[in-house]
Symmetry: C2
Subunit: 459 residues, 2 copies
């Protein structure tokens, strides 16, 4: 990874800074991609970053600033003079400025808004009003708009004149009284052989757009489906207000996937990356589920208590509890994880539930059969013959194997059903992943196990 | 989801097809995005798809074909005449053609290669030679190349003349004797005010490129880092051979994430989506881990057997086994899932291991302390006072709570260490997720529990 190779570059730059060899530093930095420069800066001692930053040319400085982590952005802003801050802000795209404003403490936000030019301030405030995680909150207001009556030559001229401030020039939007009438790519324009063709004749009129309130996850899924570079965002009245670009969609996908994975792993989602989280952050993220699941495990304890006298008579049954619980938990989490992923990719919907249950039942039958057979053989050969545990009779083996088969079936049905019900009820299906399923399946597997044992051993 | 709304459109189209209203069908389809048309076709009865497909205009037909699932592509190819197949192939980009070839059975592949024009056949064969999941295998060979000595005006002219066959025209590559000398965007060209500027004067010469053998996951991470539209691919000698575009990178990210999630959920990764997998596919995907984990749970059984006489004397200890195992398993999977995600996002590396362990130890201390205190209160108040279980003494509660604290510590250390060791050893760290960690932590938590019980209760 390039980011890791940077450490020695960071050291070199620090040494050069101490020797005040500023032109050399500038020559080195100027050849680099802003994302790499940001990575290097984050490896440098905090007090030296502002000085190093000032050596960057204006445009590269702004692009590097955008790529840095919020804590370093805050550090830099606090060190900026007002004119320096304004210089950086002027180079930013509105959506990047909004991202920064959202991460900064209130006093820094006030200073940013006071320093930004009036147009940008209005745009930032406009975007900040949209609900969190909506298309409006991730869009940018800087896009190329064309008129239907323009010719191809006029359109190209307009792009060449105004494109410098736009986040993307490659997708252009054809508007009339701010209503979105069509869409056109620079590719269409450049590959059009007749310069006098009217935009209205070559634009695509079936425009796929999203609303300012569309959830960002849905927006990201549309990018994956259609491979667009940008998607237009319209307000409730159908007027065009901005665009979302593919790089923002990629960030949303990464963010939402990490959130899903955290929730599936039994944690509250966090905005902090692991490397920036301190133990107390991690504690807050992890303890709620641990606590809830520990307390809910009281039920499994109660079930065992209920069966205590029988267990005291047949202690051998206890030895199979962990295996049974683990097999049930694993079976259930396989199904729930599969369904949660399929839901988040939009592959399945609630109306597919009966078909899914039927598929899981057949899968559970195959898995249960295979596991029971192997388990029976294992118990009789290893536990009884090899280890000479005479308490392990063939009836005990039968009880364990039947319990496995039933547990796998129950676990798979619960594993596929709960995430779908959660989604239907408006919750995040990822909540219904392994830790939760495990706890439910644990209790059920014990009930099944003791029920079968009672019937066959003590019945 | 648009895809779901299609069902009724599919029915309408089927009805229109029965009435032979072909122009109407064509008028409806022509307004739609290829991804949507593909979705609709997949909801239509198999026998009608080829007829419906023939109604599409040439270009839309090819784009729709690319968006369809392999099984439908195969169905269509088998129904095509040679000239129909050639017509579709001629419209495809090379990387899409390669994707299709990789999914088809050998006889269909032979027919595709025999029908494709010689240039495409050579390109397909070239790409097929690269290792699976390498940059070479996902690249396309159709990109815009410019010469350093061209002027801006000449470059724009060249793009307008040759761009029609290129997957993207927005990033252009400046080559000399096939060596990559620089990179330039259409934006740079259009926004350049002087048409006589030389390409060599405005091109970016610090080109970030990947090698044909670079792993596709690494390629995808570079797209996320740099927000590129396309990345150039060079061979071992540094000669440019193709480009990877952002939409392919998004597909790779989705594919790799699904694979990670499947492995973390204790399954073998599968190329089939859930909806296309039959129960036997799912069985094959799930049984290996279930079997392995069931058999490895033998150890937990052995540990319990070892402690059987003590358990028979103090059956009350049995009731806390599930709670202890679950808490340990959950704690461990929280850490492992966090680390696996951080590894796959490139946030942490092996050299961070000591820092990570130290962070996890402090987190475990906080979690263990909170859990033990609540657990002690719960046992004394609920189990002893409320439920009147007099076997539950304060020493038993102390044993359970100490076991929890130690188990959480051990689970978190194992949970963060194993994925990093797996990565270091060249395995997929996702293998070290919940199911695996749970099995190890189960055994350890029992050893800890019984060890502490022995010391305090029977010592």
């Amino acid at each position: 990874m390039a980011e890791r190779g940077n450490v020695s570059i960071a050291e070199t730059l620090t040494a050069l800074l101490d020797e005040k060899k500023y032109p050399t530093i500038r020559d080195i930095l100027i050849t680099m991609n802003p994302a790499d420069v940001a990575g290097i800066f984050e490896d440098i001692e905090d007090s030296r970053i502002p000085l190093m930053f000032r050596l960057l040319p204006k445009e590269q400085a702004a692009e590097t600033f955008v790529e840095m982590d919020p804590e370093f952005q805050e550090l830099l802003i606090k060190g900026f003079s007002d004119s320096e801050l304004k210089e950086v802000l002027d180079e930013l795209y509105v959506d990047d400025a909004v991202d920064i404003v959202e991460e900064m403490p209130a006093n820094v936000v006030r200073r940013i808004l006071a320093t930004a030019d009036p147009e940008m301030r209005r745009d930032i405030n406009g975007i900040l009003r949209y609900p969190e995680d909506s298309a409006g909150s991730i869009m940018t207001t800087e896009y190329v708009s064309l008129r239907p009556a323009m010719t191809v030559a006029e359109a190209i001229l307009r792009i060449r004149r105004t494109g410098i401030d736009k986040e993307t020039i490659y997708t252009c939007y054809v508007t009339k009284n701010r209503y979105l009438e069509g869409v056109l790519t620079v590719r269409d324009l450049l590959l059009c052989t007749d310069d006098d063709t009217l935009i209205s004749d070559i634009m695509e009129t079936n425009v796929i757009s999203v609303n300012t309130h569309t959830d960002q996850e849905e927006v990201a899924q549309m990018f994956k489906k259609y491979d667009f570079l940008a998607l237009p965002v319209v307000d409730m009245d159908g007027r065009m207000v901005g665009i979302v670009t593919f790089d923002d969609a990629m960030d949303v996908i990464e963010e939402e996937t990490t959130e899903d994975i955290e929730i599936m792993g039994g944690m509250s989602p966090s905005e902090k990356t692991y490397i920036h989280a301190n133990p107390f952050d991690l504690f807050k993220q992890r303890i709620p589920w641990l606590m809830l699941l520990m307390v809910s495990a009281t039920f499994t304890g109660l079930i065992i208590n209920n069966f205590e006298s029988a267990l005291a008579a047949q202690v051998v049954l206890t030895a199979f509890i962990p295996m049974l619980m683990d097999t049930g938990g694993n079976s259930g989490s396989q199904s729930s994880v599969t369904i949660i992923r399929a839901l988040s990719l939009g592959e399945v919907e609630f109306r597919d539930l009966p078909a899914i249950i039927w598929k899981e039942v057949r899968t559970a039958f195959l898995c249960g059969l295979a596991l029971s057979c192997v388990c029976f053989a294992k118990i009789m050969l290893i536990d009884r013959l090899l280890l000479g545990n005479t308490q392990v009779t063939w009836i005990v083996a039968l009880v364990v194997c039947m319990a496995i088969a039933v547990t796998v079936l129950v676990a798979k049905i619960i594993g596929c059903t709960l995430p779908m019900l959660a989604k239907k009820a408006g919750f995040d299906p990822a909540v219904m992943a392994s830790p939760f399923i495990t706890t439910i399946v644990d209790a059920l597997s014990l009930v099944v196990y003791f029920g079968i044992a009672k019937a066959l051993l003590f019945g």
